[in-house]
């Protein structure tokens, strides 16, 4: 049974793995359009990955195995997470009841090793980046979890593919406001976790202002390719959770569903690009307020769905 499912999932997984750099391209093109520029070619992120893979990695003498293991473990954690998150269809490859807990810890594991690798270099910049990443990560987790609680209560399931699957459709009809709050919170979580404006600026060259980029300054070659790809994959996965929660597709397999999901993810990338173009980044000490706001949105949504259950 599992084997059959795995075979059926091969084409879907291939698309899921190939998609992330393209979404980065959509963001870049959107930003370029707002800035009145042409922007890099559509396939530029793939070219970049190809270039990095061919290069040799350079290691600082002060680093240990943690520095080398960091990018690999982070990417492995994300790839594993990809098997738990429904991206194109309503189902996930290895989903099981309670996989939501595993997913949370996979994301945390990836983050932990990125941070440890950054601290391993002993650079004051990377230490600063690590401290910022952990601070904001710790703050965005409650927002994400409370959003999960809402969907778990609504669908009476602890399996992610069911929580954000077709069972959510009736919830939109009865508890629309709560779901809108959840989607809002998930968007903030996405911007935080994927290090986009207004939380972080992926385009800046100023090491003192960076969060994610400064942690990976010392990585090079294939390992940097893993990190770049991992960042894009993380965006795709969290984005999938967002679009699935926002637009649940009905039960059963539909030929139109996967292409539609790709378009939805593309639309999300355009939205993120538009946000990046339309506003400046927040001052670093204001970012917690944004994330706390997302947590509050999730919390209110929890109260709303719980109240409806008890009444």
């Amino acid at each position: 049974m599992t084997a059959v499912r795995a075979v059926l999932f091969v084409p879907e997984m291939l698309v899921v793995l190939a998609l992330p750099p393209l979404l980065m391209s959509v963001i870049a093109k959107t930003k370029a359009w707002f800035g009145g520029r042409v922007g890099p070619p559509w396939l530029q992120p793939y070219f970049d990955l190809h270039k990095l893979i061919q290069k040799n990695a350079v290691y600082s003498k002060t680093t240990t195995w943690i520095f080398r293991a960091g990018p690999i473990i982070s990417l492995a954690a994300l790839l594993t997470a990809a098997t738990l998150i429904p991206v194109l269809s309503n189902d996930s490859l290895l989903g099981f009841s309670g996989d939501i807990i595993l997913l949370a810890y996979l994301l945390a594991l990836g983050r932990m090793f990125t941070v440890l690798a950054a601290m391993d270099t002993g650079s004051s910049f990377e230490g600063m980046g690590a401290s910022r990443e952990v601070t904001f990560g710790a703050m965005s987790e409650p927002a994400l979890f409370l959003a999960f609680v809402v969907m778990a209560v609504a669908t009476k399931s602890l399996q992610l593919s069911e929580m954000i699957g077709p069972k959510l459709l009736p919830e939109w009809q009865i508890a629309g406001p709560a779901m809108i709050l959840v989607v809002g919170a998930l968007l903030v979580v996405l911007l935080t976790e994927a290090c986009r404006v207004p939380v972080d600026d992926p385009a800046t060259h100023l090491e003192l202002t960076m969060i994610h980029e400064v942690m990976v300054l010392d990585h090079s070659g294939p390992e940097f390719a893993f990190i770049t790809y991992g960042a894009a994959l993380k965006f795709t996965l969290l984005g999938s959770i967002l679009v699935h929660a926002a637009i649940p597709h009905p039960e059963g397999f539909n030929v139109l569903s996967p292409p539609l999901r790709v378009l939805e993810l593309g639309g999300l990338a355009v939205l993120v690009g538009a946000i990046e173009s339309a506003m400046a980044r927040f001052r670093l000490n204001r970012v917690p307020m944004l994330i706390a706001g997302a947590t509050v949105l999730s919390a209110i949504a929890v109260v709303l769905v719980l109240m409806r259950r008890t009444v």
Partner: protein, 505 residues
């Protein structure tokens, strides 16, 4: 004396070296500003100190000098001015480094550029060691404590910018103290200015700070023309004014775009970045160089702006004016941009006065000073530009001052291009007056540049001292950073946008 005047070196009032500091302290009480302080080696091995204090209210600059004599019983030393007047700090470090003079009681006597003294004598902090050629290799001010950490940035930066070393003492994200060590760009520009051929020296003057080529060339030409007693036609003055304002426009517009970039506000960064190029291209139309090189020469300007070019420039400026103002309106209406600018990197008026800040940074802290207004010379005597003032002293104020200056420079240019006086654009100068001193001031886009020139008894240029506004303002940046989030440093830095090359000479 005023700029453009020429005096006998012997006529400069002298003060005893022990009284020099007190004398300046007394002058400070009259509300003057320290514009320049430097030393010049005398043939007997001593050093003559010259101090220029500007009285901006009446457009006058007072000069005094003091002879330091070297003897076996007494090394070269005098009571420090910085001890009472922090504005002198960089100048006194420079004098100590160049001549081994010890300003007694200087609170932070460290090398400024890291080079040997002119005669190899030891500087107050010890002899120069070629084996340690790295500027800034000295004990930095340190804050100790369990939760305090030190961040060292540069001299190699992530962007393509000039080299400089920044040492932050931080408590978490908050900066407690910033110390800036420069000197990586020291090229020895001042001796190169003494070239026999004034045209060659003018080329060097333009490269003191490449983004302020016109501003430095203007100060240099004013000083030399004063020494030669040359009268430059009003037409040449007008063309100089046009070039200076175009330079200001290009840099202000570019910097406002860079400020947008630093807060990740994309449209502002893209549009203003392009518009900067448009202004540079207007300068290109005049003299064939986007930075205004080879335009100003002692005696006038090398390129005229004929009527047809004048019309063309005016048409293009008229097209650019609404475009620039529209983009700037959009930028200053964006609340997320303002949220980043407001309250970041505050420098109070008191601090600004204390350290002798100049240029837009000083005007943003409420200090009314603008060479074009206070020491009006050339075309600025006939066409006035209102001084742009803000009072909050933060990044926002520095941005607004630039914004206002963009508007006013545009209006000034349109008026001047429409009504340019007639006259010859260039006239070769007569020989320089012997044993004389003159200076030129100009309000570059960054602030006041000052070139002081001395001739010897044969009428040859013997000594030139250059001051870029950056030497005043770097300390301002360091002070503005206190208590600011370290992630806002690039933003503060850009709001000052000081020159490394101009400081290091």
């Amino acid at each position: 004396m005023r700029q453009g005047e020429c005096v006998d070196i012997a006529a400069i009032p002298r003060v005893e070296s022990d009284d020099f500091s007190d004398h300046l302290q007394e002058a400070r009480g009259r509300g003057v500003r320290l514009a320049q302080l430097f030393g010049r080696r005398t043939p007997d091995g001593g050093v003559m100190l010259y101090a220029f204090v500007a009285n901006d209210n009446v457009g006058m600059v007072d000069v005094c000098c003091s002879q330091l004599v070297r003897s076996d019983s007494r090394p070269l030393q005098y009571p420090s001015i910085t001890a009472h007047w922090p504005a002198a700090q960089a100048f006194e470090r420079e004098i100590a480094e160049q001549y081994g003079v010890h300003p007694l009681g200087h609170p932070w006597l460290k090398p400024l550029r890291y080079h040997a003294t002119d005669d190899g004598s030891p500087a107050p902090w010890g002899p120069f060691d070629r084996k340690k050629p790295i500027p800034g290799d000295y004990p930095f001010y340190r804050v100790d404590g369990e939760e305090v950490h030190e961040v060292a940035v540069g001299p190699v930066h992530a962007g393509v910018i000039e080299p400089g070393h920044f040492r932050f003492q931080c408590h978490g994200e908050e900066v407690l103290h910033l110390e800036i060590a420069l000197g990586y760009q020291h090229r020895g520009a001042e001796p190169l200015l003494l070239h026999r051929n004034a045209t060659r020296s003018a080329i060097v003057a333009e490269t003191v700070a490449g983004d302020a080529s016109v501003g430095h060339a203007l100060a240099y030409c004013t000083a030399l023309e004063a020494l030669a007693g040359a009268k430059v036609s009003i037409r040449a003055h007008a063309i100089r004014g046009i070039a200076l304002e175009l330079e200001r426009l290009a840099n202000h517009v570019g910097d406002l775009g860079a400020l947008c970039n630093d807060v990740a506000f994309l449209p502002g960064a893209s549009f203003l970045g392009r518009l900067r190029g448009e202004f540079l291209n207007l300068t290109l139309e005049i003299c064939g160089n986007r930075f205004g090189r080879n335009l100003l020469r002692p005696g006038g300007v090398l390129f005229d702006i004929p009527a047809d070019l004048s019309d063309k420039l005016r048409k293009r400026l008229e097209g650019l004016q609404p475009e620039v103002l529209k983009v700037l309106d959009m930028m200053f209406e964006q609340s997320s941009v303002l949220a980043r600018f407001e309250g970041t990197g505050v420098l109070s008026q008191e601090q600004a006065e204390e350290i002798g800040l100049v240029g837009p940074a000083a005007r943003a802290s409420g200090c009314m000073r603008d060479v074009r207004h206070d020491h009006a010379y050339g075309v600025y005597q006939f066409s006035h530009i209102p001084v742009a003032i803000e009072t909050t002293g933060d990044v926002y104020a520095r941005a607004v001052v630039r914004w206002l200056e963009v508007q006013r420079s545009l209006e000034f240019l349109l008026e001047l291009l429409g009504n340019k006086p007639a006259g010859k654009t260039f006239e070769a100068m007569s020989p320089l007056r012997a044993n004389s001193m003159a200076f030129g001031l100009s309000e570059t886009w960054r602030g006041e540049a000052m070139h002081v020139a001395f001739t010897d008894d044969t009428g040859k240029l013997a000594f030139v001292k250059v001051k870029d506004p950056s030497i005043h303002n770097w300390l301002g940046l360091a002070l503005a950073l206190r208590g600011v989030q370290i992630s806002d440093f690039p933003l503060c830095n850009k709001s000052f946008n000081l020159s490394y090359a101009g400081h290091d000479l």
